[in-house]
Symmetry: C2
Subunit: 208 residues, 2 copies
Amino acid sequence: MAGRRGISAMAQKQLLVLVDLDGVMADFDGHFLTKWKQTYPEEPFIALEDRKTFYLVDQYETLKEGLKPKIKSVYQSKGFFRELPPIAGACDALKEMNEMEGVKVFICSSPLFFYKYSSTEKFAWVEHYLGADWINRTILTRDKTIVNGHILIDDNVKIKGAVDCPSWEHVVFTAHYNKHMNLRGKKRLDNWTDGSWRDLIMDFKKRL
Amino acid sequence: MAGRRGISAMAQKQLLVLVDLDGVMADFDGHFLTKWKQTYPEEPFIALEDRKTFYLVDQYETLKEGLKPKIKSVYQSKGFFRELPPIAGACDALKEMNEMEGVKVFICSSPLFFYKYSSTEKFAWVEHYLGADWINRTILTRDKTIVNGHILIDDNVKIKGAVDCPSWEHVVFTAHYNKHMNLRGKKRLDNWTDGSWRDLIMDFKKRL
């Protein structure tokens, strides 16, 4: 069976780490709030520390009905994804991780269903902050379950897709909205600045 | 080991088929030739039946030195990927394949390193010819070896990447340039019109 052969060969050689972009490398929520206040100063907003849902719109609609089109107009606008500020320490950590012996890192990011700007701008973000060679290590997919890897570092607590049991173990990157969520045994990575990502990677490497 | 669990669960449930876009679904070579003759009528060209290499530029440079910038200007231009004509029967075959019981189909396509137009336009092509729901089944990646699947239907005879032995079996889609190549035991799919793709899929399903 071709599948088993693939995983087995992969496992012997290297740790494949998949890293999400929005909310893990790039500050989607923070940038949204800045743009939201600028664009719709008359509308209510949710402070970052009060965010509770993965999708912004789910929580904003509890503040006031009918905000959805305005919310979409912000994150679907040209330049929104390109201008996302990097999360502290993320780019340096990824570059260092990819230099570790026996570790390969890929960006694994979901473009918006309204893909017009986000697909190109995600590549542009990666090129700008990580370097052009990372274009070759970027995967855009709305279904992450069919991507092969040992770890997926992602802030979205629920990741579903065509494959019920993906090859990767999901490590939840801590965000304001998920910090109080029950992860049902999943590991967390809280930030890129306190060095704990190195322990996480070494732990996975030991288990190969 | 998470990986084995993933593949095993996947194998029991469904056949995952990955299908390349350029040269398999969309006629890259034919469209290039049309645009090349229109844009540079004074330059030599290679008839489709005389094509011999995967990368156009490798063969065009044997005709005349220094053609590379002109060649790139054609396929890197805005609209080139969006305007690719579908290969005969490809879209109907894919829609039918995805409706087969126990079969899931994903588009697996490599954007150009010059991603500016190709990344967005590949999604636009898929949306136009297959339907908006196929945006959710499209993976853009320059490394296909880390995508999980049982089959990858791709015209590129040599597919390399981070994983030495990918989970998929590579089925080579016949193109003018690869029809005389030695596939070293790999299966071929010659076209989408004679119905042989159904036998191929059924054969893989039996082996799950």
